[in-house]
Amino acid sequence: MASEIELVDVTKRYPGADQPAVDSVSMTIPAGEIVVFVGPSGCGKTTTMRMINRLIEPTSGRITIDGEDTLSLDPDRLRRGIGYAIQQAGLFPHLTVGQNVGMVPGLLGWKKSKSADRVDEMLDLVGLDPADFRDRFPRQLSGGQQQRVGVARALAADPPVLLMDEPFGAVDPITRGNLQDELMRLQAELRKTIVFVTHDFGEAVKLGDRIAVLGQQSRILQYDTPEQILANPADDTVAGFVGAGASLKQLTLLRVREVELSKAITATTADDPAEIVRRLAAAKREFALLLDARGRPTGWVHARTPSKPVPVGDSVTLQSTLQDALEAILTEGGAAVVTGARGEYVGLVEIDTVMSTVKRLREEAGA
């Protein structure tokens, strides 16, 4: 279930200001897609988003959700039908996690039992064990866990539209990466219409089906798929915002499962070192990957020092981005180990694979 959002000549003018904060923005946000508003601080991207659920009332223009004019609805009722997640999570500190998540169903008058079931389902969905977290208070959670609860609260009443205002802006980079991956997993399942505001272009590329690059007064500089924006920025301002390293950012668009994996020479920890050396020589390779009894990688052995394995430092999964893989390749030297769902070895990503993928992406986008 998702809804199309349409903005027509939406303008916000604050009394006493010379220039409008948002000047005549028109755009269509397709149903079931993540559209990311990205732009410098103070460009009006948050204002534009907040006009969709009327936390800010437009001065002029029209916003429709599935063809229905939002101005014709009661603002409180409108907002109960739109999920809302913000940077600081904004959890109610005096209520438990369960009460926070159950707030919107409560406002909508759901039955207690239905609401309680829904709370558990939502906590499960965002990766928090309901039995453990339901009765905790927000201050007993880490920043990342608070954001998860914030997302669960936004999704609790199953709204077709979700507004997210820099929801992962206040957490550390590693947690942010995890939360972004989680959001993509959720979205693959739920297919909501999501408007996501950020000033981090990398985040926009990673999450967005489409990106709206906004300039001053929320003017749309370019509204397109991440691939197109990276390959063909509309003007110098967009190019400046995309910044150096557009090719690197393209790597965040691809997942490890989408590229061809190569095979390492593998051996088990039980194998005889001399045997490993013979197999390496036969294959004309220098390194073999050691696997434990359950097929999980434990270390590399070099042909010259077969009895002294070096532990595998950084590995990636099939869901990791190619950028993560490149990072692991640079740390490990030459190739990154790819593991499956249970941590078992499935293949290698080599530097050549990454290089040829970047080249192919460029050619495709340029064509």
Binding site: L55, Q88, G90, P93, F137, R139
Partner: protein, 216 residues
């Protein structure tokens, strides 16, 4: 007659006055809380309004209690009415100020989220803002109560109820038998009652504040 003999001798009378004293202070604090929280809610969104409300209630506190009671007697007569009016007026400042501080201190992101998920303005106020400001409001009531315990003694001047009667009677009969005992009994009684009420407030705070915000 020793002090303890005096207290034992007059026990029923002293207990009755103590009850009236506490009852007057508690009722006036509750009344001051209703008015003070209402006032705080009315002005907290406007810095100018908050400043005016705080200044006005502070100004009331600078009027000597003796003078205020004296000025109220011609208007309201003797007994309970001037006592109640004076106590409520004096009790306002801590409550109004703490209500404003408590409400303004609510995290902007919490307020934004509450509006964003579809709570009405009244809902945000009653279900979020006042709940979060409650520890501050309660602290204001606690300060008011302590203050009013002392001020209520002066109310005896306007023929008000309470232990002030003993103090005034003792002081006017200074030098005669048991005069000192009488004044001391009233004073000690007030101090003891104030301590007990403070303990009661600590308990109320413990049982009415969410575990999620307690001790912050």
């Amino acid at each position: 007659m020793s002090f303890w003999d005096f207290v034992a001798d007059r026990w029923s009378r002293l207990a009755g006055e103590a009850l009236l004293h506490v009852s007057a202070v508690v009722q006036c604090t509750v009344l001051a809380a209703l008015i003070g929280v209402g006032l705080g809610v009315a002005v907290y969104r406007s810095p100018a309004g908050s400043a005016v409300a705080t200044a006005l209630t502070s100004a009331v506190l600078t009027i000597p209690s003796f003078a205020l009671l004296g000025l109220l007697i011609p208007v309201l007569g003797l007994g309970a009415p001037p006592t109640v009016v004076a106590l409520v007026l004096y009790g306002l400042l801590p409550i109004v100020r703490n209500t404003i501080v408590g409400l303004v201190g609510v995290d902007a992101s919490v307020r934004d989220a509450a509006r964003g998920i579809g709570m009405s303005r009244l809902g945000v106020l009653t279900r979020v803002e006042l709940r979060l400001a409650w520890p501050a409001i309660l602290a204001g009531m606690r300060v008011s109560t302590q203050m009013l315990m002392g001020i209520a003694a002066i109310a005896a001047y306007a023929r008000g109820p309470g232990l002030g009667v003993e103090i005034f009677a003792g002081l006017t009969r200074a030098g005669s038998a048991n005069a000192t005992n009488q004044a001391v009994a009233g004073t000690v009684g007030i101090v003891v009652l104030a301590l007990v009420l403070d303990g009661v407030f600590a308990l109320i705070g413990r049982y009415t504040t969410s575990r999620g915000i307690r001790g912050q």
